[in-house]
């Protein structure tokens, strides 16, 4: 029984260490108090804020944007990768398009997105989707192309159409890689949703953060940061569970 919790404890160690260093810096460091409140103060403040319904609304808004943006990015990234693997002409075009579009910082286009899609959720979701789609596309495309060819041959011989072989052989075979791409995209989505809310928003955790920063309420700045970190942990745990579920039987699971 003890060993079941060992990984969990192990994972908390470095985090505890970071918090310890933080506490020490806040207590004895030379940093201005205004810049680095103690962890205790931050955690109590975060708890207080969590009790506030308006703050919880901010959290809900951010989560909604994150989830829908990521979902769209996932769908688009996967669909395009499948298309690129299926069709040689689409592949040539998509490869070139991705090469051209991927390195563009979408954040620079954000002001234009606002004008086209408004100040509300749509423009932020679009931004998250745009940034999430690329890592997923790249991972899925490369993963699908690296699939052991004899597996596909075996399926095609059994009468699988190219499409069927793609979905039921190549995709499962590439699943570990695709999931890794999703994991990267997930974290990028977290960053981008905050960034978009920091640039222009009237609600969401990113707004809470930037509002606190502008008004020099450092402690309120830390609360959203703590929440993003917690969200990262939560997503990671969920992701690992999903991975274990999906990758039953895989040699590397």
């Amino acid at each position: 029984m003890k060993s079941r919790y060992a990984p969990f404890v192990l994972g908390l160690l470095p985090i505890a260490a970071v918090i310890g260093i933080w506490a020490a810096l806040a207590a004895y460091g030379t940093l201005p108090r205004a810049l680095l409140p103690s962890p205790l103060a931050v955690f109590t403040r975060t708890l207080t804020l969590l009790g506030d319904s308006e703050f919880r609304m901010h959290i809900a808004t951010t989560l909604f944007r994150l989830a829908s943006g990521f979902a769209i990015g996932l769908a688009v990234g996967l669909a395009l990768a499948l298309l690129a693997v299926l069709d040689a002409r689409a592949r040539a075009l998509l490869t070139a398009l991705v090469q051209l579009l991927a390195p563009i910082p979408k954040i620079a286009l954000y002001p234009m997105l606002i004008l086209v899609m408004g100040f509300g959720d749509a423009s932020k979701i679009a931004l998250v989707a745009a940034e999430a789609a690329f890592p997923i596309y790249l991972a899925a495309f490369q993963g699908l192309r690296n699939v052991e060819t004899k597996l596909v041959w075996a399926a095609r011989s059994a009468g699988a159409s190219p499409l069927h072989a793609l979905f039921f052989v190549s995709v499962p075979a590439a699943l570990p890689t695709i999931l890794t791409g999703c994991r990267v995209a997930m974290i990028i989505s977290c960053i981008v949703v905050f960034l978009s809310e920091m640039i222009s928003s009237t609600e969401g955790l990113g707004y809470v953060l930037i509002d606190a920063a502008r008004n020099f309420r450092m402690i309120d700045m830390f609360a959203p940061i703590i929440l993003i970190s917690a969200l990262g942990l939560l997503l990671s745990a969920g992701f690992n569970m999903l991975r274990r579920r999906l990758l039953v039987g895989y040699p590397d699971a």
Binding site: P32, R33, A34, L35, P111, I114, L115, G118, F119, S200, S201, T202, Y207, D211, A213, R214, N215, F216, R217, M218
Partner: protein, 311 residues
């Protein structure tokens, strides 16, 4: 502009700046040869920021010694962030007879007065920025609650015109140089100006941290002297000022020509003299409408000697 042998002994100060409208600094950046002390008595490492709030944070963090500031950020930086600093020179202000930021609506829009703004979307450069003060005053005088009766969205000055014309917002805040572009293109009209609420507003000014001023008074003094003479040079030679501003901001010269240093531009004071009274008025306004917690004395930011003009 300095020999490498000399550079070692010369102290370097880090100065935060933004665009636009800090002509004194642009001149010091682009024409250091006009300032004998610069490079011999001290050196400057220029660090550009986006907005005054990050610069205040950088000053609190000790990452820069001096920076451009605005009234509300300065006050909050002091009250919330514990920033101890002095205002040493003015950059630009809004005064009667000069440009003041204003809110514009579309020409054909039926919005005529405050009450018409109910339920409309209004833009502001930064939620909780200094312009929030005059806007709040204006709305409250018309019986509107800025939190409930309008939808306030954050949109940088540069995006105002587009957002207004495309109908994304119903009233947009205008500032130079974007105001002048919008005016010349037509189709928009002024709804109300900050001038209607506050006749004089200090817009941006130079601030140095107390720690720096106390530790290196000679350097600080040399810097303020140079700011003073820079402002004199700016006011003396419009063509040069425009040329320098254009090269820093990349705004085309004709655009600047059209308004720079005219009555449609902000006021620049002789020698960069700073109006502490106007700052006090603004503090009081912010306190009254709750944007500042408690009274704040503008004299706190006044150094007994170190204040432009220093000649």
């Amino acid at each position: 502009a300095t020999g490498p042998a000399l550079a070692q002994d010369v102290p370097t100060i880090r100065i935060g700046w933004t665009i636009p409208a800090e002509d004194t600094k642009y001149l010091m950046m682009k024409r250091p040869e006009l300032f004998p002390a610069l490079g011999s008595a001290y050196n400057i490492e220029w660090v550009q920021f986006q907005g005054t709030a990050p610069m205040a944070q950088a000053m609190i963090a000790g990452a820069v010694e001096c920076s451009t500031q605005s009234a509300l950020v300065l006050a909050n930086g002091h009250l919330q962030g514990g920033l101890e600093s002095y205002v040493v020179a003015s950059h630009v202000d809004s005064t009667p007879g000069h440009f003041s930021p204003y809110w514009a609506v579309r020409e054909d829009d039926p919005i005529r007065e405050v009450a018409d703004l109910r339920g409309k979307t209004v833009s502001i450069n930064v939620l909780g920025s200094g312009l929030m003060g005059p806007l709040t005053m204006y709305l409250e005088e018309g019986g509107l609650d800025p939190r409930r009766d309008i939808r306030l969205v954050e949109l940088g000055f540069s995006g105002s015109e587009d957002a207004l014309r495309s109908g994304r917002v119903d009233a947009a805040v205008m500032n130079q140089p974007f105001a002048r572009n919008a005016e010349s293109a037509g189709g928009v009209r002024k709804l109300f100006s900050t001038e209607d609420v506050l006749t004089t507003m200090v817009q941006i000014f130079e601030v140095c941290s107390k720690a720096f001023v106390d530790e290196q008074p000679e350097v600080a003094e040399a810097y303020v002297r140079d700011l003073t003479s820079a402002m004199d040079l700016v006011l003396a030679d419009r063509a040069q000022t425009i040329e320098v501003a254009a090269s820093v901001t990349n705004i085309p010269v004709p655009v600047l020509e059209a308004y720079y240093m005219t009555e449609n531009d902000f006021e620049r004071y002789e020698g960069g003299a700073f109006q502490f009274d106007a700052l006090q008025d603004m503090f009081d306004l912010y306190t009254r409408i709750g944007m500042l917690e408690g009274e704040l004395d503008a004299q706190l930011f006044r150094h007994p000697t170190l204040s432009a003009p220093l000649r």
